[in-house]
Amino acid sequence: MDAMKPAPFTYHRPGSLSEVFDLLDHHGGDARILAGGQSLVPALNMRLATPTAVIDINRIPGLDGIRLTTEGLHLGALARQDDVERSPLVREHAPLLAQALPNVGHVAIRTRGTIGGSVALGDPAAELPACLVALGATVRATSRRGARAIPAGEFFRGIYTTALAPDEVLTEVVVPRPGPDARAAFDELARRQGDFALVALAAACRLSDGVMLEPRLVFAGVAGTPVRATRAEAALAGRRPEAPVLEEAARAVAGDLDPPSDVQASGPLRRHLAAVLLRRVAARLGTGS
């Protein structure tokens, strides 16, 4: 019995970034980078993707680190989602990620799925991109032409579309060190645990004498990219997360979002859920959890 489903491809397992650049040069647009494989392999199995070459970057040393520098918390492209979720460094310096990651698929998905893969894919309902925008993180990419840093807020361009050029490899994400007054909270609404979110919200701010400063409210699942709810942010800024303030922000969010309808949920339902999430998540900004 022939159980092969993906279309044929050649398999490459480079040991360094420069070998990856050679392979990308050589195969042009017909090659795909394989990281955790939790989005690419389903696409191969269903022949939604039919690359002629697959470049497995999993054995390139030094790309999977989780480390703290004066700049911030560095998450290597190959850091597994499960390792990041459980990392004490992440819990201390980017607790928003530790809160959000349990919502990404299931354990057996996160043990393989990588930080870089989720960011490079740019799924509109993905949790990580929204968190990185809320935290003001930076995405680092390298190509033969050199290395560059792209603010997360400018990285996501549309559905499955990012600022990454075809010859670039995402190498790491850097989350700035939070100050002592930093607060962040995450929640989402999905049909079932582990499903992609219908709507997700990553929120961050500084809390000074109980007052929210520089709030950032970033929704996923409501457009092609993570969306900052600037009207709702303005409704929270400089105020305490108390019921009337949350109500005002929840009303304002309707003007920030114009979510699409699909088989999972209608646009109006998503907008309603966004307001529900906003009340829940913004209330938690005041309690520090």
């Binding site: 044929p8 397992r13 494989g37 939790q38 389903p42 199995n45 057996a108 043990t111 393989r112």
Partner: protein
């Protein structure tokens, strides 16, 4: 010919195995078709049903979302291996006693996932067990008996009365 087979060496359930494998072959198809270890099942082939779950270097993974060539140099454990070592004997017994399986299609992966859930969270209550098993579909039991079986084992391993 773009699909040239590659040499792959894997430690499967403690025994070294070396085969020529086409790059597009998934790990679970390699186990089932090439090694005739048919305990890992194939349902959806896109990561959703969980039936193909195995352990690679100790980590729970979807066998349909890893290429066999990626397991080169790795340790792979399947339900056959876990059953042989007796690691999950108590789970197997609880599943049988509480009717936590009917057709059995989901069972091997359910057992591996339950074992990992209890390793990570030994004191798991029913709600946390349900959440930990939420990535494994069962089309027969309605899940209730599965959650009961795993919960019984959690309590027994903690030395609590059933």
């Amino acid at each position: 010919m773009t699909d040239a087979a590659l040499d792959v060496g894997v430690m499967v359930n403690g025994a070294p195995v070396r085969r020529r494998v086409e790059p597009r072959r998934s790990l679970v198809d390699f186990l089932r078709e090439d090694l005739e270890l048919s305990g890992s099942h194939v349902g959806c082939e896109h990561g959703v049903c969980g039936a193909c779950t195995v352990r690679v270097d100790g980590a729970l993974v979807r066998g349909c979302l890893m290429l066999a060539v990626q397991a080169d140099g790795c340790r792979v454990e399947t339900i056959e291996g876990l059953a042989a070592t007796g690691e999950i004997l108590d789970l197997q017994q609880a599943f049988a006693e509480l009717n936590a399986l009917q057709c059995g299609f989901c069972t091997p992966a359910m057992l591996l996932t339950a074992q990992e859930a209890l390793r990570r969270d030994p004191g798991a209550d029913r709600a946390r067990i349900r959440q930990a098993l939420s990535g494994n579909y069962c089309r027969c039991t309605g899940y209730h008996a599965i959650v009961e079986a795993v919960h019984r084992v959690a309590r027994a391993r903690a030395g609590e009365p059933p």
